[in-house]
């Protein structure tokens, strides 16, 4: 029997279906364009799964309810757009600090502020790295195709449970509202690959939720299972109780970084498109990569050997691979729907400044011709 199926759907609906197939049982959210279809679909799917979808009174309530449900032990999700992330920021910081697994879908639109509610942008890439105050290491995935709106949400749930922290999935207005055929894994396949979060099943007296190795995530047993611990956004010790003891505080934040940094190989995901014999390196992600691929093919028709490197995990960035590519290619062009938020990360990772960029912030997607023209202009 085939492991895949063909569906006709939109990015937003596929994100919801992926949550359902991944065993998500809770959705907390609030209406916001262009992500509302995720909530519409979840209000239908969650009761069918025996879970609940709750429309809260605002964005803050949406993420806080999702945190509560995650603490209760179930897979939990919220979806919104950039202005919603801005409001949720405080609670996203709490979820990082207290190590709550959560999937946060952001269907990006033009910003800042209310911006361009019905138009596309990739302006929340920097925000996803550090949405709130304080130090922690974000995990952010960025689908570039309709099918990935499904598969990356599936991956996000597994990563959230693995690393015990919120995982962002950055869709954008183009992908969220794109309606077409997609080939996605079957629900059975997804279910068979679910990796639930670790639990502790020893004597409740010995349970230390945050007393783990220095590169390991917390082990938070679900509520109502006989294990008791303290939950807080304050610096805390192995039991979860607040502390200001300097070594404990240092170790806690070090661990929040190390649990991600030491396991980058489990998180990193990239696509390399026609890169082997390329002379010009294009870098782009998300919906912009659709136009870049088309541009690569058309440039090659004209004898210009271009190729695409597409990070699917944006944070942590694929810095090793970027460095290698930076050494190999003289001609590098970064294409993104913002003023260069990821461009700066690529400059850092490649340790060089002579990188070209093509940016757009008027709410319109790139056309392949935009990219072809830019390549001919700068190289």
């Amino acid at each position: 029997m085939s492991d895949t199926r063909e569906v006709i759907s939109s990015g937003n609906e596929l994100a919801a279906l992926a949550a359902y197939d991944s065993g998500c049982l809770f959705y907390g959210g609030y209406p916001i364009t262009p992500s509302s279809e995720v909530m519409h679909a979840m209000t239908d799917l969650m009761p069918k799964a025996g879970g609940a979808a709750v429309q809260m009174e605002d964005e803050i309530g949406g993420v806080a309810a999702a945190i509560g449900a995650a603490m209760a032990g179930v897979r939990s999700m919220t979806a919104t757009s950039g202005p919603g992330i801005s409001l949720k920021a405080e609670n996203l910081g709490l979820a990082q600090m207290a190590e709550v697994p959560l999937v946060v879908v952001n269907v990006m639109r033009g910003g800042p502020s209310t911006g361009l509610p019905t138009r596309v942008a990739q302006g929340d890439v920097a925000q996803a790295k550090n949405p709130s105050h304080g130090d922690y290491k974000s995990i952010t995935l960025c689908p570039g195709t309709l099918a990935e709106c499904y598969t990356e949400v599936v991956r996000a749930f597994n990563l959230a449970d693995r690393f015990m922290q919120p995982v962002f999935v950055l869709l954008d207005e183009t992908l969220g509202h794109m309606h077409a055929k997609a080939i996605i894994p079957t629900a059975e396949k997804v279910k068979s690959e679910i990796k639930p979060r670790k639990t502790f099943d020893g004597d409740p007296k010995d349970y230390k939720p945050y007393g783990v190795g220095d590169d390991e995530p917390a082990i938070l047993n679900p509520m109502f299972s006989g294990y008791r611990y303290n939950f807080t956004g304050l610096h805390h010790d192995a039991d979860g109780f607040p502390t200001e003891e300097k070594e404990t505080c240092r170790k806690l934040i070090d661990r929040l970084f190390r649990k991600v940094d030491a396991h980058r190989d489990e998180i990193e995901s990239n696509e390399e498109f026609m890169l082997d014999d390329a002379e010009i390196l294009l870098i782009g992600y998300g919906s912009a990569s659709l136009a870049i691929k088309e541009a690569v093919v058309r440039l090659r028709d004209e004898g210009i050997k271009a190729g695409l490197f597409r990070p699917i995990t944006l944070w942590p960035s694929p810095e090793k691979r970027l460095y290698e590519l930076g050494q190999k290619f003289d001609k590098v062009l970064v294409v993104e729907l913002n003023q260069g938020q990821y461009y700066e990360e690529i400059q850092r990772a490649m340790a060089r400044h002579n990188i070209e960029k093509l940016t757009k912030t008027n709410g319109r997607p790139f056309s392949p011709q935009d990219i072809i023209d830019k390549v001919k202009e700068v190289f």
Partner: protein, 317 residues
């Protein structure tokens, strides 16, 4: 309180429009009727803040604007906060004598839909009323998130079908009761609180005028029939609103200083609530036999509510 005389119909219809008609609100939307009437009810300078919502997205589409006033579009939840800041600074500058024309009359007004008033902006409105800024807050209550695809709000009434509280085989739509926002605002001790509807335009204009003339925070809930989400023919906005007020689903009344309740409109003939429901697609499932009891329950609630309002009017407490 001595009110300046209200404009008559002729004066209303011949006065300069303060909200230009060339906006992008849906045909039949009651928002523009309400906003227009508020603005035309006064010749004073207006400073207006508007929460994100249908009104905001439709009245200022680049490069055009419908507003002849100072106009602040703020986030989804903060019109009451922004107008608080504007009003506080106006007062401070007036005290300092740094205003160009200190005697020019200025009124501060904030608009929000029910989503931004009953839900996301609730805390900010509550704070502004408690602090006692001199402003009038108008809620354009269409009982749904009309700007983002018709999701339920805490103003959506029992039995209405929305995209996140859908009627179907197992559900009759929204199950939770609509918040009584008028009572909540009156309980803040606001000097003037009212609920009005655009079909009774003279009452509405009088109430707006009273709110603008009252010193301190005033809250007006306005019934704004939504042709798109309530699902009725755009030409029937006023007819549907007539049914809302004549079935007493939306009683029209004011509360002065938190205690003195006055009913401002008594229907000559009170209609059964099902006439109101029958006029709108969002309630059509209520007429299935298995949902009839919902209509009966709502009728009972409406009767009790009307009885309560009349008793409060009489008791003056």
């Amino acid at each position: 309180m001595a009110l300046r005389p209200i404009k008559n119909l002729k004066e209303f219809s011949t006065a300069n429009e303060r909200l230009e008609g060339a906006h992008l609100l849906c045909p039949g939307c009651a928002h523009s009727m309400i906003v227009r009437e508020l603005m035309n009810a006064t010749d004073d300078n207006l400073v207006i803040a508007t929460n994100t919502g249908c009104l905001e997205v439709s009245t200022a589409v680049y490069p055009y604007t419908s507003w002849d006033t100072s106009w602040i579009h703020i986030g989804f939840e903060n019109a009451a906060s922004a107008i608080s800041g504007a009003e506080a600074m106006y007062k401070a500058r007036k005290r300092k004598g740094t205003l160009k024309d200190p005697d020019a009359p200025v009124k501060f007004v904030a608009f929000g839909g029910d989503g931004s008033t009953y839900d996301i902006g609730f805390q900010w409105l509550s704070g502004a009323i408690e602090r006692g800024h001199d402003f009038t807050y108008i809620c354009l209550d269409n009982e749904v998130y009309a700007n983002t695809g018709g999701q339920r709000s805490s103003s959506t009434p029992v039995g209405a079908s929305t995209t996140t509280a859908q009627a179907g085989r197992v559900s009759y739509g929204k199950k939770e009761k609509k918040k009584d926002i008028v009572a909540i605002m009156a309980a803040h001790g606001a000097p003037y609180v009212a609920q009005v509807a655009p079909n009774k335009w003279k009452i509405m204009a009088k109430v707006f005028q009273k709110a603008l003339e009252t010193e301190g925070p005033c809250f007006i809930n306005t019934v704004s029939a939504c042709t798109t989400e309530w699902k009725f023919d755009p030409k029937n906005t006023i007819e549907v609103t007539d049914l809302a007020t004549d079935t007493l689903i939306f009683p029209i009344y004011e509360i002065v200083n938190g205690t003195e309740l006055n009913i401002l409109y008594r229907p000559k003939k009170v209609l059964p609530v099902e006439e109101y429901f029958a006029a709108q697609g969002r309630f059509k499932h209520l007429f299935k036999p298995e949902n009839r009891h919902i209509i009966d329950q709502i009728q009972k609630d409406v009767n009790e509510r009307w009885e309560y309002l009349q008793r409060r009017e009489e008791a003056r407490v």
